[in-house]
């Protein structure tokens, strides 16, 4: 870059610097929050990135792992969430999570997006329109029930999947998300909560809830016909590979976007996310190389997703090399869960929603208590105005216990809510497909289509 260009750039930056300097001595401008074009641009892109994680990311990742006759049915389980959860979120979901209410659930003041407009909601994100915040958070509510479908893949009716997911959102996702992120939420250390649980991007809200619910559904619905005697290898790992890579990229919106601004905190979360994913992939490949002699492609992408799920909780609280440690632990522990423990216990968590998201979310929650540091995130203040110590590395080992309590509350809500949702769905519609339909495949029996028409 020539000196001349540098000079021009410096000149262009001048007005911004000048404003920053004249602004700072003035009284806090909180009364008139100003929209930042940069923040809004980043948050709109982040919202789109998180939507991309569900479709096509998760849809491709999951559909490649099932048998050929279930490819469309599996993709539809993700895509339907994009349609149905969107509407529920706009009608009342957003309000139940982010409106002021009690410690466990918001009230209905934002129902039908009433009062959600161009003006920011200063409680959460003072520099972006309230609408941007609302649509960004919607994408998290979409992917969470979609993750659960991996546990009961290839054997549940479409209508039951939808009804179950709807009930589940009300019983598990909305309360837990309000408790962790909502104003006055029981576990929200930043907005008046009782027990401080640090969950930057949804390790508890998304991964623990979906992962443990997944385990409950897998056990409730039972194994697929023929499992585990019959071989059921993935029908197209190329699709899964593309899906996993889209998940990796989309996760930047998920984690770095959770800074809710185009800030240095977003950069920090971006880097932590990327490093943990890489470490997870390397760890899983090493584990497969040791145990099977060959590191597989499915192993590499599974490790990356495990690293991503595990770093989600701490992404905006931990240093880069803490994220590497988190990713490595995620790769080894999640591999052990799906390759050793699942095989021993013989439950059919078909696409390892529990083994990757539940287990990864849980250890990520605890590791956040270890590695969270005010050097990365100084949002939480002590009474004297200094940044509060966060995790064990800041000399606050008690935070690990707080994180554990948060995880347990998440697990209890997930297990109880899932059991109720399963019972109600079973009574209303039945849950599982008939053995004959299962044998024919979801594509034909549920949707009347085939994914691959080789003869046409």
């Amino acid at each position: 870059m020539s000196l001349r260009t540098l000079a021009v750039l410096a000149y262009l930056c001048l007005p911004a610097c000048a404003f920053a300097q004249t602004d700072s001595p003035l009284p806090s401008p909180a009364a008139v929050p100003a929209i930042s074009a940069g923040d809004n641009a980043w948050m709109l892109i982040s919202a789109a990135l998180v939507l991309m994680m569900t479709g096509p990311g998760l849809a491709l990742f999951y559909c490649g792992l099932v048998r050929r006759r279930n490819v469309l049915g599996t993709m539809m389980q993700s895509f339907a969430m994009m349609a149905v959860v969107t509407l529920v979120w706009a009608i009342c979901g957003y309000s139940l999570v982010f409106a002021e209410g009690n410690a466990f659930l918001g009230d209905l003041r934002f129902a039908f997006l009433h009062g959600v407009g161009a003006a920011p909601n200063a409680n959460y994100a003072p520099t972006i329109p309230h609408l941007t915040f609302m649509i960004y958070q919607m994408m998290f509510a979409i992917i969470t029930p979609a993750l659960i479908t991996g546990a009961f893949a290839e054997r549940v009716k479409f209508s039951s999947t939808l009804l179950f997911s709807l009930i589940w959102l009300f019983l598990v996702y909305f309360p837990i998300a309000h408790m962790v992120w909502g104003i006055g939420g029981y576990l929200n250390p930043f907005l008046g909560g009782k027990i401080p649980v640090f969950d930057f991007a949804g390790g508890t809200v998304v991964h623990i809830t979906s992962g443990f619910s997944a385990l409950v559904t897998a056990i409730w619905v039972g194994r697929r016909v023929g499992y585990p005697q019959e071989p059921m290898p993935p029908h197209n790992l190329v699709l899964s590979f593309i899906g996993a890579c889209l998940l990796w990229v989309g996760w930047f919106g998920f984690n770095a976007g959770s800074a809710l601004a185009a800030s240095s905190l977003a950069s920090s979360a971006f880097v932590a996310t990327h490093l943990a994913s890489a470490a997870g992939a390397v760890a899983w490949m090493i584990a497969e190389r040791i145990r099977n002699g060959k590191p597989g492609a499915l192993g590499a992408i599974s490790g990356a997703v495990a690293g991503l799920a595990t770093v989600t909780q701490g992404a905006g609280f931990v240093q880069p090399f803490s994220a590497v440690i988190i990713g490595f632990i995620a790769g080894f522990v999640c591999y052990t869960m799906v390759a050793v423990v699942k095989a021993k216990l013989k439950y059919d968590d078909t696409l390892d929603a529990f083994g990757v998201h539940g287990v990864g979310g849980f250890i990520g929650c605890l590791l956040t208590g270890v590695f969270a540091t005010r050097a990365v995130n100084d949002t939480l203040k002590l009474a004297n105005g200094q940044a509060a110590p966060l995790g064990a590395v800041d000399g606050n080992p008690g935070q690990i216990l707080n994180q554990l309590i948060g995880a347990i509350i998440g697990i209890v809500f997930a297990v109880v809510g899932t059991l109720i949702a399963l019972k109600v769905t079973s009574l209303a519609l039945g849950f599982r497909m008939s053995a004959r339909d299962e044998d024919q495949g979801m594509d034909l029996s549920l949707h009347g289509e085939e994914g691959y028409n080789f003869d046409s």
């Binding site: 071989p231 497969e288 597989g296 499915l298 599974s302 390759a339």
Partner: protein, 112 residues
């Protein structure tokens, strides 16, 4: 008239076809088949779950030849398809009662 049926390694198909072409055999049928003989299958791992694949892909070549060409055709196929390792396949030879060319109703050797 004999029918010669050879089950060979998939990657040997082109070698066998070229050798037969050099011999002047220009009518044959090829099918993708799966099976196993003495060759053991292989093991695949998906997230640590082990799958034994014991039906292996092979190619089946079928052709019908006149009595005097039988031996040279068999020898050609065996030579072209041989690697010396387990899994090379087998050749089966059958007597054929008759052959009819549908286009003009030629019969016997004339139909080949």
């Amino acid at each position: 008239m004999y029918k010669i049926e050879a089950i060979i390694q998939p990657h040997k198909l082109d070698d066998v076809r070229n050798a037969l072409k050099a011999l002047g055999i220009d009518g044959l049928t090829v099918t993708e088949v799966r099976g196993h003989g003495r060759q053991k299958g292989h093991t695949e791992f998906y997230r640590g779950q082990e799958y034994k694949v014991d039906l292996l892909p092979k190619r089946k070549i079928e052709m019908v030849v006149t009595n005097d060409r039988k031996d040279e055709v068999i020898e050609t196929i065996v030579k072209a398809a041989q690697t010396g390792k387990i899994g090379d396949g087998k050749v089966f030879v059958y007597d054929v009662g008759d052959a009819i060319r549908i286009r003009n109703e030629d019969r016997g050797d004339a139909a080949l």
